[in-house]
Symmetry: C3
Subunit: 511 residues, 3 copies
Amino acid sequence: MTTGATIQERVDNVDIALDTMFLLVFGIFIYLMQAGFAFLEAGAVRSKNTVNILIKNALDSFFGGVSYWLFGYAFAYGEGNVFIGFSHFAHTGLTHTGYAHWFFQFVFAATAATIVSGAVAERCDFMAYIIYSTCVTGFIYPVVSHWAWSDGGWLSRGDIYEIDGQMVQIGYHDFAGSGVVHLLGGTVAFVGAYIIGPRLGRFDENGKPIEIRGHNIPYAALGGFILVFGFFAFNGSSSGSITKPGDEESVASAVVNTVMAASGGAFITLLLKRTHTFGDSKWSFLTTLNGSLTGMVSVCAGCHAYRTYCGFFVGLCGGLMYLFINWAVLKMQVDDPLDATAVHFGGGVVGAFAAPLLTFETGVFYNWNKASVLYLGWQVAGMIAIFLWALTLSILVFGLLKKAGILRVSEEYEMKGLDLPKHGEAAYPAEAYGHGWGDDQNTTTIRGLAKNSIGPMTTVIVVQEVPVDRPKTQEAEHPEVTALNKIRKQELLKNGPVETQPGTSDSGTWS
Amino acid sequence: MTTGATIQERVDNVDIALDTMFLLVFGIFIYLMQAGFAFLEAGAVRSKNTVNILIKNALDSFFGGVSYWLFGYAFAYGEGNVFIGFSHFAHTGLTHTGYAHWFFQFVFAATAATIVSGAVAERCDFMAYIIYSTCVTGFIYPVVSHWAWSDGGWLSRGDIYEIDGQMVQIGYHDFAGSGVVHLLGGTVAFVGAYIIGPRLGRFDENGKPIEIRGHNIPYAALGGFILVFGFFAFNGSSSGSITKPGDEESVASAVVNTVMAASGGAFITLLLKRTHTFGDSKWSFLTTLNGSLTGMVSVCAGCHAYRTYCGFFVGLCGGLMYLFINWAVLKMQVDDPLDATAVHFGGGVVGAFAAPLLTFETGVFYNWNKASVLYLGWQVAGMIAIFLWALTLSILVFGLLKKAGILRVSEEYEMKGLDLPKHGEAAYPAEAYGHGWGDDQNTTTIRGLAKNSIGPMTTVIVVQEVPVDRPKTQEAEHPEVTALNKIRKQELLKNGPVETQPGTSDSGTWS
Amino acid sequence: MTTGATIQERVDNVDIALDTMFLLVFGIFIYLMQAGFAFLEAGAVRSKNTVNILIKNALDSFFGGVSYWLFGYAFAYGEGNVFIGFSHFAHTGLTHTGYAHWFFQFVFAATAATIVSGAVAERCDFMAYIIYSTCVTGFIYPVVSHWAWSDGGWLSRGDIYEIDGQMVQIGYHDFAGSGVVHLLGGTVAFVGAYIIGPRLGRFDENGKPIEIRGHNIPYAALGGFILVFGFFAFNGSSSGSITKPGDEESVASAVVNTVMAASGGAFITLLLKRTHTFGDSKWSFLTTLNGSLTGMVSVCAGCHAYRTYCGFFVGLCGGLMYLFINWAVLKMQVDDPLDATAVHFGGGVVGAFAAPLLTFETGVFYNWNKASVLYLGWQVAGMIAIFLWALTLSILVFGLLKKAGILRVSEEYEMKGLDLPKHGEAAYPAEAYGHGWGDDQNTTTIRGLAKNSIGPMTTVIVVQEVPVDRPKTQEAEHPEVTALNKIRKQELLKNGPVETQPGTSDSGTWS
């Protein structure tokens, strides 16, 4: 409380405090989506590339933070022209309420960047990742958010039309970013996946896809739950304030429609898989999860202004689009391990298109008139512009990375896994498993088997070599091991040493 | 800020904005409890049923969202009579502050439904789950919340009594739902577990329980942490507002008492297990975790109005009740894999009973008078009414599902696991594990062993067949594998093919 | 809204409501850091000690809750002298806004305590843990927070100096606790690790460290993400209010600088490892994660008052300090499994030192004058006082525990793992893994191997004995198992029974 302040000043202050808290709390929620994407992706890759995908997701927000601080925010929300902003580089001249705004916009930028990592998972080189990720958060995304979300952007401004004798401003509207975040991120993801090429063994000689399963569905589920949690904030807080008239209704509607759209997307995908329309007549968890994510992406653009049934319907359309794009991407023999294209591009297209149609009272379906049709026109124009921008820039970035030969890891690394040679860390080091209390209640995982996964159709006896720094006397407690050893050692070990050691440092190139 | 608004209007607006934000932020916290239950349950089942329990928990909120939208909210908070409401079906006529209220009430409804999934885990069919879950969120729970939490409900209204010459309204009070949410959910869970029958092998011929361990304690721990996090909001926000006089004290007390009750429940269970009073003289994590959860359930009903020592004491009683009900349920040979009955029914009874006794200044222990005793009477009446309602309805639902033969999966599916035949997805597909860098730092998990877990006391050599789509030339790099192959192949493979394939689609029934 | 209240009263009420909500929401965020530490630590220990570390982290907040309720808060924020407070024991006389304040201060206390558990992981006895944890939350930390954060503390008061003819109060400033929480927690952690001694096999005869890898990097990553999430609140909310003039700028700056410092810490550690300056020229995830955590610890003390570039720079210095302390601790042959000393002590020192240097406009680097130098002096004095206090008290506590012979588990328990003998619960019970659908898509983990990890360089055939309570007729479905059994049973099992059973209850001592 300000001592001596007038009531007027105090209420002004409360408004600012409440809006600041709103931006920060919801921004922190949205930040957690980084963990959501990380675990969704970690669950969907093989164990040998788990550390690789986790560090990429963790660093997305750190590299993104720095590039968005240095120039991203300036391009997006600086003073400038209709195309790009250019003030507030490195926070110069930021006003005191600007910091909360920066943080809030930054978590959206980080989300756009993190979408891409799934599409190029298990084969993208680390240096290439740093470069494309910095480009997305620092330039590709900020420019589009300037167009659509800053006051001066050409999409946000639109144009002024005479309707019924009144001058009306009509432009592109995208409340929480179906187009700005997801269509953009999904396009970059698709281009990345296309240019980098499919993972080894993803398609057979006839181009038929061979499924490569992820190693841990509970991680994917954890990621999914966190993403739903985050989407409530992502969609709910896009008004950017809670104290302006109508804000509290916008925010609440956005949250409710997010529940509805997730449900719609989940239902239709669950149903179509189960009824064998798409898929194999199972109740597929991963498909349903992606369906619900696509639903939430789809509802972004107009979630504050839909009636509840429209929220559900938009999610349902999103789910359908997911199944279609998923099919089409595979048909094109593009390997997008996380379905980032289907979820984000697919959902983004549905979402940006649905807003002018279904917005309550003013949408085309409620009110077919000059204004609503012009809004639809602007929306389509905006989608095309965003798509072309993302397409061009990402072809440039990924094309140059490929040209430079630093886009993709070596074939050997890809086959054997990225975690050890690139990061020196196995996700689950075998030596850390097991206990000494007999086999009563233990799980043990076995090393020494990995090498066997190379040859086709090999049948092996599992063997292990465990160098452990412990007193020899322990051995006496385990006569059965010694006994087994005596029998097997000569028989098995004469086949040569079973280890192949990864290099402890790689070739010296920065990759 | 509203331009031209009076100070009065602006302060009104701030109150609405703040309360809306309060409902949404805490509602989003509470939503995360879905993830908490999901991981608590995923950790407590066997790996073969992990996807099954995860998809159920994920869909709880989606099916629940739709049924609570279409009719659940109408039954609970619509205009109606003392027993049930019947307006606002499918959000018709919802006012602009209604959306936040709907979301906030929905997350409570979803919690009530999700309690049940644990009790029927590892054997409940998917179609049956969809049906009972929809019934709980759409009807069973909403009616009780109408009784106790809507202005017009008969429990909420209670009756008017003449006390010391004044007319006083006394009824059932349940701040955060010890009775409304947990006693109800726990009752439905118990009936479900009772009617569906125990998992195969849960009790021996003499009815002695045989422990079936869950596959992953860290998942259970993650679930537990998330549930504590969620309970702060669940208990803290049940005032439904933060701007009314006294709200900020209620909310803060509720959060503090939640810490205390969790501690009390944890302490007593930890101690009684360790001292061999109950259990096996270990510091059991799972028991302590359930003790703390029961403590938080127990404190719900009066957490806003207890002194801190009462919060601790109520949690302690909850922990004791947990141990007792846990014992009693097993004695009845009912198999409740997640102890949902002990945690939620047990905690719910303690909680609803404790509120009229320990509420500061007005409870029976502070002030034994006509008013406090009448309050106690209403509280007992409310508990009995909620219990009978939940009992009857759930016997009906689960009884009919059993009659229809769609309640439980086939014995074969139950033994071999639900994930593959029902969902087509293994939680940890073996093919996704291992790497090619020798056995230096790897964990590998082995397939081909599952089949061996069928026969009693079998001893097997672990073998594996790995069809991998890779160039033959790779094999040369691994001479030791080839060597092993030559030796072992004839010797082992003549014992017949080691695979048995699960059907790729099930019988065509919708189950 | 208060009926009949004046506008003045209503605005007062809104301020209180908003501040209460601010404390509670951010406090709940901070509470989740308990889960963050739990998973960071669970990932960093071996599977045989996973339940042990999880229960310790879970109970930290419960034991801490009770001891902070009974006396911790009284020592910290009670009325008293400059050294310690002594009112409000067990919440007596707490005013109605006191509960939110208590909760908010409690989550900080719990954080201080939980830092220690990592440093003594895998060998600290459970009873010893309960004792030291209670001491930290109940006394060691509260006294220091009284010095620095209560109005009456000697560090908070500092002294009054005549500067340019004006009397100016200058003292120790530590916005979010670089010194109060982290330097203190890190010191206690180091002393604990030093007195308890290294894990068996951590150093060879020449004192050269041998790496003991943790069992699950995804858990560590989950912990890391949650900690970043929590640090936004930890740093952001340390103003303790959002409605005072300047609060919203402090809070937003703190959040932004937390992003920056995490980035700075991550960058420098990533770079120095990769370039072989420190480490092995890999992109190490765990080092980068610790670097970012140290960055966030470092920025605590002045995060509300730094320009963004200073936030980044402080994080960068934190990362450097992490690498140095990490090296120094190993050089001293102290085994700190979680690098708690490097992260918290190292980061804490950097942080407390950086604040008087870099605080915008008044720091030494901006304005070298008597006031800024005196501030620096007080800061150094405060750091030394906190360090000496934590050092003395923790030497006393851990020394006495060691003297009493209850600090460390037995050598047998340490080698074979703590989970089974102390808690009766394996993190991943083998019997809970596998399914019956053939080896198509399964992962199975194998028991019976643990015993083999005892002998040095043993080579074994993996065998398993699976007693399963199932009808014999099932066996017929798996002829290959039977076939294998016949061949192998005589051959292998004559080597003697493979189980060694852990005692089902331990020695009867309370340990």
